[in-house]
């Protein structure tokens, strides 16, 4: 092993994950820069786009994600303290379940949007909109950001299930605890991204 001791390995893993989260911040940041600029330029069209969405679905979804974030924090706490494998697995499965509900609610939202003809360039019928082109841009940003976020969540759920399955094995050494902690960092980051996406997309006045 290239590490001298567990402490060095934990420090390396934490630095590596945080640096990776910095790249994710800039990855989402590129689209958000474009969104902020166009929202300032076409405020009215973007507000009109926001009205097409259902804020209460968004609020419920955010609550679900906050709960899953809490569940993950409990899993990490469990891994760090008693380390009871059953409890860690249970919290991880709860996190994955809540994440899955979030994805399902998003899928429901997308199907409603499809029927309403709000999908840019694929199924776009803007009869009732005053600025069809700019509102189409709003919906492009809406779908691009939420799908990008959903992909990150699905990846996260996949890894959570793998790690939850691994905790069942007896040789769940301290190295695995670091994996749970890093997974927690990633999941909380995906939650923070949604914390910013929710007001920007749904709560436009």
């Amino acid at each position: 092993m290239q590490f001298d001791d567990a402490e060095q390995q934990h420090e390396a893993a934490a630095l590596g994950m945080w640096a990776f989260l910095a790249t994710e911040i800039l990855f989402f940041g590129g689209v958000l820069t474009g969104f902020v600029i166009y929202r300032h330029r076409y405020l009215e069209a973007f507000a009109e786009g926001g009205k097409e969405l259902w804020p209460w679905i968004g609020t419920a979804n955010t609550a679900v994600l906050l709960l899953s974030s809490f569940a993950m924090a409990m899993a990490v706490h469990e891994a760090e303290t008693q380390g009871r494998r059953k409890h860690i697995a249970r919290y991880l499965l709860l996190t994955a379940l809540l994440g899955a509900t979030f994805i399902c609610v998003k899928a429901v939202e997308y199907t409603i949007d499809w029927h309403e003809g709000l999908i840019p360039s694929l199924n776009w019928h803007p009869e009732h909109l005053s600025h069809p082109d700019q509102t189409q841009m709003f919906f492009f940003f809406y779908f691009f950001l939420t799908i990008l976020h959903a992909i990150h969540m699905t990846a996260g759920i996949g890894v959570i299930l793998i790690v939850a399955w691994q905790t069942r094995r007896p040789d769940f050494s301290s190295e695995k605890k670091t994996t749970v902690e890093m997974l927690g960092l990633y999941w909380h980051f995906v939650d923070v991204v949604w914390i910013f996406l929710f007001p920007l997309l749904y709560l436009t006045a």
Partner: protein
């Protein structure tokens, strides 16, 4: 692994605080208009993000280097947004 962990009570309190802030942001978006609504929504979002980062992501007990990396990610995003917006804002003048 430092010994005193974040007690579960703090985690639960953070969850409640996040839920309250969520409700607050929805109420704020209903009551306020225009620029005030946007700033309020963003301020609440930043508050929630700080809460999640400080407690859930354990920045509270992390090494200064980890905190520096967390902040630098946001700082570079700020560079990109501010300098790009500078061009679009001053184009009319």
């Amino acid at each position: 692994m430092t010994e005193h962990k974040t007690p579960t009570s703090t985690l639960f309190a953070t969850l409640i605080a996040l839920m309250v802030l969520l409700a607050l942001s929805v109420v704020a978006s209903k009551m306020l208009q225009g620029a005030a609504a946007t700033t309020a929504a963003l301020a609440i979002a930043v508050a929630k993000a700080l809460l999640v980062g400080w407690i859930f992501m354990d920045l509270r007990r992390s090494s200064p280097l980890t905190r520096l990396i967390a902040v630098s990610g946001l700082f570079w995003l700020l560079i990109m947004v501010v300098l790009t917006a500078m061009d679009f804002a001053t184009r009319g003048m």
